[in-house]
Symmetry: C2
Subunit: 417 residues, 2 copies
Amino acid sequence: MKRHILLAGLACACVWAGPSASEQPPADCKPNVLNIPGAPYPCVYPDNRVTFRVVAPDAQKLRVRLGQGFDMSKETDGLWYVTTTPQVVGFHYYTLSIDGAVVADPATRTFFGSGFYNSAIEIPEPAADSDYYSLKDVPRGVVRQRWYQSKVTGNWRRAYIYTPPDYDTNTKAKYPVLYLLHGWGENEQGWHVQGHVDVIMDNLIAEKKAKPMIIVMDNLNTVKPGESAALYHARGAITQAVPEPPPPPGAAPAGRTGGPGRGGRGPMVSNVFTEMMLTDLIPMVERTYRAAPGRENRAMAGLSMGGAQTFGTALSNLDKFAYIGGFSGSGGGRGGFDPKTSNGGVFADAAAFNKKVKVLFLGIGSAEGPGTKTFSEQLTQAGIKNIYYQSPGTAHEWLTWRRCFKEFAPLLFRQVN
Amino acid sequence: MKRHILLAGLACACVWAGPSASEQPPADCKPNVLNIPGAPYPCVYPDNRVTFRVVAPDAQKLRVRLGQGFDMSKETDGLWYVTTTPQVVGFHYYTLSIDGAVVADPATRTFFGSGFYNSAIEIPEPAADSDYYSLKDVPRGVVRQRWYQSKVTGNWRRAYIYTPPDYDTNTKAKYPVLYLLHGWGENEQGWHVQGHVDVIMDNLIAEKKAKPMIIVMDNLNTVKPGESAALYHARGAITQAVPEPPPPPGAAPAGRTGGPGRGGRGPMVSNVFTEMMLTDLIPMVERTYRAAPGRENRAMAGLSMGGAQTFGTALSNLDKFAYIGGFSGSGGGRGGFDPKTSNGGVFADAAAFNKKVKVLFLGIGSAEGPGTKTFSEQLTQAGIKNIYYQSPGTAHEWLTWRRCFKEFAPLLFRQVN
């Protein structure tokens, strides 16, 4: 299958090559929606194959690193091409390897993942499936870039704050707040840039499927003065000439296809983040925005490492959060779960837990393995109410997390008086 | 000089190389502030030389393209290094050429300029000089990402809207509005990402040097349905294998060092942008934000091509704008200026013009040539009041434009009753 497809790709490339090397790709190969304006490549065929083209006149070996690698070939027009096998729908980070240098493709916008700015393609879904994250003519909220000072980290930090469509006009209203975290190697831009969380939320609110809320997106990577930002160092290795270490335990690489057993297993929880969040972030938000007070107006969720962080922070502070979500990451599922002792014994008294936690949500892509489902079943077995959602056909990637968010957001703040 | 510096750089590289290739640079070479977290290179010496390091094990030829090009050398640790000549202070886009492929350096954040995502270094100024664009403990406004529908272009457009620190609390106040444009090959993110306009404005407001205002940053590249985004195609060429054409007349490439005669000469003015702005953008802003009405509460400014656009739009619509600024771009200065006929004769009646236009501001970097100064003198000769500002020692780059903005903003909306 793969070989057949690759050959088909080369055949196409030969057809294009000729005196006019600026020819456009075949009409049925549509430019990736994440390309820079005017760039025809990479392009996506109706069957989800992707053709890449790169200008590298003196290079010896080019490879597209898109989950697996695809070697490129230099065609008669002097350009490098490859057509991949059909890709699954959704958002995929990728890089080029140019004679061993791993870099972004200049043809696309760049996205912070794995600790640096990657390229990306978006394999489109059928219109009906992507409707919930598509721009539509509905009232629209905004995403605000907010700088604030942190006493805990001793520096300026940047958060992005979504406010719902009526925030600026309904000036007496107070809104509940969701704190929403990115994954390993990503940053505070992930949810609105890669995840389209603002678009999803606007659409849900317009359909009255979710309550208007404030969403706070901050950076999980938090260190005290003098400490190094160790979580980033793995990918920083590409510019530092040290072997790229495996991701930290429980922190599946963002945007890579997750194998079985991925999904934020194991605790990679930053106590510094928790301290910063409780000391600096939440007070800043509640001082600056019209945030409704109290635990039943606060939710916390995150993806992958951000899911593990959510469980770490929120389960230790149930006086502050009543809604909890982990998307491909929860801190559970590794086995050895004991409701009496795990997570500091927070699950030991199921009735008390269920009374306090209004929603405990566990989401996962179906290609990510059984860990999260197992954890959900263990919780259910222990009498802990929880909601398990499985995204069909998706892996450890942003489409899983958009879908998780779409399922999770409507459950929030429904039980508040 | 250059050769001496290059040799010094190589000597340094040799010193670092050894069994541990992950060694950090010399203590006096400080990581570029625009690096991704944890990346030690590129780093900047006290004398403003920059050392770059790239991992490209199988490459034959590497070059840093930073204004001029600097060839890299593969050292005994297998990595590529170069140390440049001393660079001028401020923000500089750069790219790598890896065996002929022009790409961003994975070691830095990426910035949209020349139509794609470049790397960049920031050569720091002395603290006293950079104070005005440094994060300080003052009340802070926010930059809001705002999607809106355009009837003129038939699609969704994205603007960034700065609102001042008291906007959310002083809920009865209305604010004047500055429409602020980026340069060729850049986009609506340029002013707050590369330009730090929000930080500058917060600092000016805190010192009571500027009036609180809304700042609207939109994308200059505007086409009607079915038209192609031609302005981007020049740099898109890198991925399209056609020779990179020169920038359009009057549109100096963003971020490149401007030679004499640069500075937005010649009219590269989009009538579609003007139509979109008047039909869609201004009404959206005045419907959505607490914008004070009327021409004396509206200013327009831009850099390079955005300055030419500002002159094109505002001088044709003086019933809508009372404050006008061009930073390294104004549409004037080419010679052949005739106050009776140029710009549709808007300068013919100097007294009437001076009464209408409260501020006409022309800014330029001292390294950009005499065109803007000549234009200012021509205007003065014709009796047109204008303010000329020259940024010492800077070229066609963001430091010139940060400084222009710092000089321009305090002049705005002072004569409003």
